[in-house]
Structures are given as structure tokens and as C-alpha cells.
């Protein structure tokens, strides 16, 4: 089990908790879960005390405060120091209660009414009707806010819950694996928690046997089997065999969890450096030791070409690579080195199912009577040919994908792609967006271009939504239906975390105004109140995304690059 290391020259320049004192650290060292850690296993540059002081913080939650929400992307885990919490097991809490935005499609009449109800002033908010806003309560200490539940007893009545008490650890899998929180946890009583950010968590796991065992066990129990089960090549296995596969599977992480924070800086470097800096998951020509599955993130598939690497395609969650090479080796072919290099795009969590296990549970199955060997063999060679097609592609044919990967647009599921050869720059799309959002356009018809293709600055509703990492109130979240990333304006506290995290600069902070056009300010410090805004795919409009709908020249599409092959203009209209 490998975790790639990385240099951290400014490791603790920005501590997690601003108010952690040495006393706090000393106190933490007396807690059993911490004192069990073998302090001397930690290297000098990364001492246990240092981690506690810089990568952890003590936070307090009042009774009813939500600590983690189902569906959130968190970057930290929690250790209960004092108090007790409840895990909501079944059914999950409704979105409104968690501070999510409620999407209700407009009726025809409501839609039509927008013709005259649209406001002339930008970014007007009806302050009085923001009753949900009262769900948020500010916490002084950290300068951030918590969302709280108003009727805890009713919840305990309606929902199946479990308790977490002193010494319990939770949230570590989502923090390390960059996956959404699987359930909501709230404070039953006033509680004190030690929040450890992923960097610290990673060190604990790296240097301490106890933490590693704990985390890995939980991972295998909670996540691995489910993932393998959902993967097409293992769907035929019974529980027992699957467990065997799971037990043998290695999990590996590549790249930087927070690549998005440094990505824009990287962009100014020479393009080709991008791929050279990417952590290598598997190297072209090497012998394949197993099938690689992507659990989260993206992996670039490339081959050596001249003095650089040519990108062939990329793998996302659920994709796998390597079956073909191992299969051929198993059939007796010699010279079956990997035909491609696989690197992590930003951050990727990979599963590696070793060859031996694959041979036993997959190839044996393929060659068994039930599922004709020939058919599978054929399928394997289809995959092989498909890869060969990629390899045979000219640089020109592959250039657009190369670019989309380089710019990380492959992350988007709804990237706004404009064919500038068709676009007459009429801005009907912008006007339509504006009309559908109370007079405020939610994107800019401008962005990076390649040949005649522009990816405009509109939210791409990413597969790996880095904007959601660290949102303190869960205002930015993935919609339960449809999967788009949306913001609940009511619970957004204007902290700018999401806007700063978005590597594509697609979230804009705006100062809100009242009906008369005056800026609404915070009564405490008179500063204007900010809200994060972005494309919501016209979630509440009956016409669907107004931008695409309004383009008279059919120049715009919302695309997932993974599923898209771009064609030249077919007809003028």
C-alpha cells in the first residue's frame, strides 16, 4: 500500500486552527487515542506535536449543530473529545434541514411572469423571506458558521440513528478518499471535537501502525467491496470471492489532494511540464502487476511520443485499465509490457487488483463454460484494438482531447462548449441566462479556446467538485436529483472558499442588494454581504438550461468530454 510522498516546503505556513496553543497540544497528548501513538516513529520535520498544533484544531459544537452532512465533500476527520453525537442512519435527513437548496420547477405561469418580474438592479435578494437563513449560526472562535437542526427530538423519533461518544473517530474515509460524506452527524449535546485535516490524517496513517490498521480496516469494510461490486468485470463474483478480491486489493493515492489550489499557478508554466509533473501510476513498457481501477479522480492515459507524451484518453471513477495486457500474458504471450503510461490528473485514488487474483477470479471465469472464452477473448481484443486506434491517431486528431485533459476540462460533466465557428457573438445566451436568473447572468461568454472550441466560464458541474471541499455550511452541494452542483443562496455565508477552490474561476462572489438597490450589509461590521453565484443549469426553469436553448445558431452545448467526440460543422444551420 503506497502513498506517494511529496515535498512540502511550506508545510505548516498556514496552520489549520489559528488558536491552537501548546497547552492545547499537551492536553491532546493525554487523550488515550492520541497517547497511543508512538511519537518517536515520526520524523523530526513532521513531529506528532507539530501535526497536532498545525494540522488539527479543537472545535466546539452546540447541541443540534450539524458536524458533517451527507453528500458534503470534507477534507477533515473528527475525534470526539467530549460530548455525544448522533449519526443519522435511516432515512437521511431532508435537504432543507441540512441547509440545501430546494429545487422546485416553475409552473408555466411562474415562468412567463419572469418577463415582467425580472429586476433591473443586479443581485437583489428578498431579505425578509430568507427564513432558512436562521438555520445558520455563527461561531465566534473560528470565524465560521454552523448549520443547526431545530427539532432534534422529532428527528430522533422519525429517523434511525446511532450514537458516537468520547473517543470516536469519524469522517476519515471521506477526507482521505475525496468522496462525499455518507451520512449526517450532528451534536446531541454540546460537544468538543478534534478536527484533523487530511494532511495530518495522512501522516498519522503513514507513521502510526494503529491508525493505519484502523483506517484501512474501515476502508475495506465500508467502501472497497461496494466499489468492486459496482465494477463490471467483478459483477459476476459471489460475496466470498469478492471478499477475496477485496482483501488482496491495494489502495493507492496519487497526486495532491488540493491540486486545485495550485493549479492556476501551474498553468503559467510550460504546458508540457504538466504531464511531466504528474505522479506516474503505471509506466509504459513495464510489466503489469494487476488491473488498475479508478476510485476517485482522474488518470491520464498516454504514450511516449517524440520528446513528450501524447494523451490518448483518460480514466474516471469506475474505469479500469490493464486487463488486456495481463490477459495476454496469462495466455502465454511474451512481451506484454504496458502499452501506455497512466498518470494522476491532479489527484487520483486507485485500486490495484493483483494479477494472481485477476487470473483466478476473472480469467478463469472468462475461460469457463458459462461465459464463452472466445467471446471474452474477443472483447479483450476489441478493447485492445480501441486502444490501438487511440495510439494510431495523428497528433492533430488527438489535439482537442489533449487540450481538454491539460486544462482539466475533463472534470466537467456539463462544460459549456461553444463552437466559435458558429457563434455570432450575439450574446443571446447571456441574455437568456440573465432572464432566467432574475436579471443576473450566471456565466461569462469567454474562456479558454482551442481551435474553434471555447469552454466558457460557466460552472461545469464537475465529477470531482473541488469547490465543495470545505464549504462550512454545505451551501454548495450536489443536487440529489440530476447531480448538478448548486448553491443554496440562503445558507451561503459568502466565505469565498468555493470561489477560491474552483480551478476554472467559474464561481463569482457578488454583493447582494435590497429591492431599492442598496447593498445589504452585515449589521455587525457594515461590510457588504457576499454570495457565491454560478450556473445552476437553470434547475428551476421548465425550459432546461436557457443558454443552450437560446442559441439561434446551435453553437453551444453542455458536454461531458468523456462522452463527447466533437464533429466539424455539418450544415450551416
Amino acid at each position: 500500500m503506497a502513498i506517494t510522498t511529496q515535498e512540502r516546503p511550506q508545510r505548516w505556513d498556514q496552520p489549520f486552527g489559528l488558536f491552537m496553543t501548546d497547552q492545547d497540544v499537551d492536553r491532546l497528548l493525554t487523550i488515550p487515542e492520541i497517547s497511543a501513538i508512538e511519537e518517536n516513529k515520526f520524523p523530526a520535520h513532521c513531529s506528532l506535536k507539530g501535526i497536532l498544533k498545525n494540522d488539527a484544531r479543537i472545535v466546539k459544537y452546540s447541541a443540534g449543530d450539524i458536524v458533517i452532512r451527507e453528500g458534503d465533500y470534507g477534507n477533515s476527520a473528527f475525534l470526539v473529545l467530549d460530548g455525544s453525537l448522533k449519526v443519522v442512519l435511516f432515512p437521511g435527513l431532508p435537504g432543507e434541514m441540512l441547509g440545501r437548496r430546494t429545487i422546485r420547477k416553475k409552473t408555466l405561469w411562474q415562468a412567463f411572469k419572469q418577463l415582467w418580474t425580472q429586476r433591473k438592479t443586479p443581485e437583489v435578494r428578498d431579505v425578509k423571506s430568507q427564513n432558512q437563513y436562521s438555520l445558520v449560526r455563527a461561531t465566534e472562535a473560528l470565524g465560521t458558521s454552523h448549520v443547526f437542526l431545530q427539532d432534534v427530538p422529532a428527528i430522533l423519533d422519525r429517523n434511525k440513528t446511532a450514537s458516537l461518544g468520547k473517543g470516536a473517530l469519524f469522517g476519515e474515509l471521506a477526507a482521505l478518499g475525496r468522496t462525499p460524506r455518507t451520512s449526517t452527524i450532528f451534536a446531541e449535546t454540546d460537544t468538543e471535537l478534534l478536527e484533523i485535516r487530511w494532511q495530518g490524517l495522512r501522516e498519522f496513517r503513514k507513521y502510526d501502525q494503529g491508525w493505519r490498521r484502523l483506517i484501512d480496516q474501515r476502508y475495506r469494510a465500508n467502501a472497497l467491496n461496494a466499489h468492486l461490486r459496482a465494477t463490471s468485470i467483478f459483477s459476476h463474483l459471489n460475496d466470498e470471492d469478492l471478499q477475496e478480491v477485496a482483501d488482496a486489493t491495494l489502495f493507492e493515492t496519487y497526486g495532491k489532494f488540493d491540486w486545485h489550489l495550485t493549479y492556476n499557478k501551474l498553468q503559467t508554466q510550460e504546458k508540457n511540464l504538466g504531464i511531466k509533473d504528474e505522479p506516474i501510476i503505471a509506466q509504459q513498457g513495464d510489466y503489469s502487476d494487476g488491473i488498475l481501477l479508478v476510485r476517485t479522480g482522474f488518470a491520464r492515459v498516454s504514450i511516449d511520443r517524440g520528446n513528450g507524451q501524447q494523451t490518448l484518453t483518460y480514466l474516471g471513477t469506475g474505469d479500469f485499465y490493464g486487463a488486456d495486457e495481463i490477459f495476454r500474458a496469462w495466455q502465454g504471450d511474451s512481451n506484454v509490457g504496458l502499452r501506455v503510461t497512466i498518470t494522476a490528473l491532479g489527484y487520483a485514488e486507485m485500486l490495484r487488483v493483483p494479477s494472481k487474483i485477476v487470473e483466478k477470479h476473472l480469467f478463469a471465469y472468462w475461460s469457463s463454460g458459462r461465459e464463452g472464452f472466445r467471446k471474452r477473448s474477443l472483447q479483450s481484443s476489441v478493447e485492445s484494438r480501441r486502444m490501438q486506434d487511440f495510439i494510431d491517431r495523428t497528433l492533430t486528431d488527438g489535439a482537442l482531447l489533449e487540450w481538454a485533459v491539460e486544462e482539466r476540462f475533463v472534470n466537467g460533466t456539463q462544460a459549456m462548449l461553444i463552437n466559435m465557428d458558429r457563434c455570432v457573438r450575439c450574446d443571446d445566451c447571456v441574455r437568456a441566462c440573465s432572464a432566467a436568473h432574475d436579471g443576473n447572468p450566471r456565466f461569462i461568454r469567454h474562456g479558454k479556446t482551442f481551435e474553434n472550441w471555447m469552454v466558457a466560464n460557466a460552472c461545469m458541474h464537475c465529477a470531482d467538485p473541488v469547490c465543495m471541499i470545505g464549504c462550512p455550511t454545505g451551501a454548495i452541494h450536489r443536487s440529489m436529483s440530476g447531480g448538478m452542483v448548486i448553491i443554496n443562496d440562503d445558507t451561503c455565508i459568502g466565505c469565498e472558499t468555493c470561489a477560491n477552490s474552483c480551478p476554472y474561476s467559474n464561481i463569482r462572489m457578488v454583493s447582494i442588494r435590497d429591492d431599492v438597490g442598496n447593498f445589504i450589509t452585515d449589521p455587525q461590521n457594515q461590510k457588504p454581504i457576499l454570495k457565491a453565484t454560478k450556473c445552476d443549469l437553470c434547475a428551476d426553469q421548465i425550459s432546461g438550461p436557457a443558454c443552450v436553448f437560446a442559441c439561434p445558431h446551435d453553437a453551444m452545448r453542455r458536454v461531458d468530454f468523456r462522452e463527447t467526440e466533437l464533429d466539424e460543422n455539418t450544415t450551416g444551420f
Binding site: K106, L108, A111, F112, Q114, L115, L417, N419, M420, D421, R422, C423, V424, R425, C426, D428, R431, A432, A435, A436, I444, R445, H446, T449, E451, N452, M454, C538, Q541, I542, S543, A546, V548, F549, A550, C551, P552, H553, D554, A555, R557, V559, E563, T564, E565, L566, D567, N569, T570, T571, G572, F573
Partner: protein, 275 residues
């Protein structure tokens, strides 16, 4: 999924076929009426009115992007086909009428201006985008003045820096004498509209002339100024062509509105006096 933009030829021809059919039916109808010594202009007139009404709906639809009224792209295609249909119907209608009087002549002229501006606009919308793409830059029309101002500031600060650092004024003098004119605002509008390379030629020439009078270090500054001039050239190109794309509508839409108003009045008069 393969993105296929634009409608298939089959689909377009289907609509063109429908439009042709409508025209042929109307034509036959007027011929029938003529044979039975009726006033065929009523028939062609009503159909034409219907088509004109449909054409003007496009403008209304644009104001309702949030209503589920079929994608704008379909509207645009139908508007185009409808525009040509209206032209043919107009000929049918006016030929049938013979003489027209002053009102009719004004209406005819307005109708032609609308049609021709529409055809020119269509042509430009299909040709210009590709030209813009080829320029290698992309800029929003409204941002152009700010962008040019930014470039100008950059150039002038470069020149100031050159003067201060190297202590010679050769570059600064040449800038004041000739280049400053260029950086002031969008230039070579007409030449850009006609796809000329005058702008590029001019900039290259001006820099070439100066080069021999500069030291190695000054040339580095000149190179930077040249790069900025090249950037501005592309923006000027966008300015010219995007202006075209914006302005033809300023003819088409008011004329179309005038035609609509006059057609309605024409209709009222006919109804009052002839029916």
C-alpha cells in the same frame, strides 16, 4: 456521443419543402381565383400576412428564453426559410396587384430593405464567425475599449521605462510621431471589414523603420511593443467584424417593425374599403 451541431440537411430540406409547398398551393389558389375572376390578391395577401406574422414572432420568442417554446436554433432556421418564402409571396402578391400607389411603393422599399438586410445578415452570420476564430484571439465586444486602453497603458509604460532605463528617446519620439495614433482606438476599420492586411503591414513597417536606430536593448523594448501592437491588431479585427455582426440588426429590426406596422394599416384599409 458525437456532437453534431446544426440541423441535418434532411431536416432543413423538409422545412424548405414545406415552405415551397405553401407557396405552390397559394400560387395555384390565386390562379384559380383569377380564373373565376375573383381578386386573387386577397388570397396571397392573407398568406403573406400569416408568414410575416410568424417572422415577427422570432423577435418575441427571443424575449422569452425561459418559456418552453422550442430551441432558438429551430426558430432561426424557420425564420430564415420563412423570410425567403415571404419574398416569393411578396412577388406573387404585388404582381397580382399591378400598380400600387405611393403607400405601396414605400412599403415595397421597406420590405426590400428588410429582406436584403436579412440576407446580408444571414451571410455575415455564416461567414464572419469563422474569420473571427482564425484571428487567434477571442474578446467580448463590450470589453474592447477597455482592452485597448490597457494595451495602450502597457505600451506607454514600456516606452517610459525604456527612456528611463536606457536614457535615449528614439523609441519615445517615434511613438509620439506615429505609433501613438495606432494605439489610440480601433484603427483600420474598413480594411479589416474587407479582410485586408493593411494593419499588419503598417505595424510591421513602422517597427522595421525604427529598428535600425535602436540599440540591442532598445530593440527588446521595441519587440515587446510590436507584440502588443500585434495583439491590438487582432482586437481591432474583432472590433470591425463584431461591429458588423451587431449593426446589421439595427437596420433589419426597425425596418421589419415598420413593415409590420404598415402591413397592418394596409390590411385595415383594405378591410374597410374593399370588404
Amino acid at each position: 456521443m458525437k456532437i453534431q451541431q446544426g440541423f441535418s440537411l434532411v431536416r432543413i430540406w423538409r422545412y424548405v419543402g414545406l415552405a415551397s409547398l405553401l407557396f405552390l398551393v397559394t400560387w395555384q389558389w390565386t390562379i384559380q381565383i383569377d380564373r373565376s375572376l375573383g381578386v386573387s390578391a386577397f388570397a396571397s395577401g392573407w398568406v403573406l400576412f400569416g408568414v410575416l406574422a410568424f417572422l415577427s414572432l422570432f423577435s418575441i420568442r427571443k424575449r422569452l428564453p425561459f418559456m418552453p417554446l422550442a430551441p432558438s436554433a429551430i426558430w432561426f432556421m424557420l425564420h430564415t426559410i420563412g423570410g425567403f418564402l415571404a419574398l416569393f409571396l411578396f412577388w406573387l402578391h404585388t404582381d397580382a396587384l399591378g400598380s400600387k400607389g405611393f403607400y405601396g411603393q414605400v412599403l415595397t422599399v421597406l420590405f426590400y430593405i428588410t429582406s436584403i438586410s436579412g440576407v446580408i445578415g444571414l451571410f455575415m452570420e455564416k461567414v464572419i464567425p469563422r474569420q473571427l476564430t482564425c484571428s487567434g484571439v477571442e474578446i467580448i465586444y463590450e470589453r474592447i475599449p477597455a482592452e485597448i486602453a490597457g494595451i495602450r497603458e502597457e505600451v506607454e509604460s514600456l516606452i517610459l521605462k525604456c527612456t528611463e532605463e536606457i536614457g535615449t528617446s528614439t523609441l519615445a519620439e517615434h511613438y509620439l510621431e506615429t505609433l501613438s495614433w495606432y494605439f489610440q482606438k480601433p484603427r483600420f476599420f474598413l480594411n479589416n471589414v474587407f479582410g485586408g492586411h493593411l494593419s499588419q503591414h503598417w505595424v510591421r513597417q513602422q517597427c522595421m523603420i525604427l529598428e535600425r536606430f535602436l540599440s540591442e536593448k532598445e530593440r527588446e523594448y521595441l519587440d515587446k511593443v510590436y507584440m502588443l501592437a500585434e495583439k491590438k491588431r487582432k482586437i481591432d479585427f474583432h472590433y470591425a467584424l463584431q461591429s458588423l455582426l451587431k449593426t446589421w440588426l439595427l437596420v433589419h429590426i426597425p425596418m421589419a417593425a415598420a413593415v409590420t406596422a404598415m402591413v397592418i394599416w394596409h390590411l385595415i384599409l383594405i378591410m374597410v374599403f374593399f370588404v
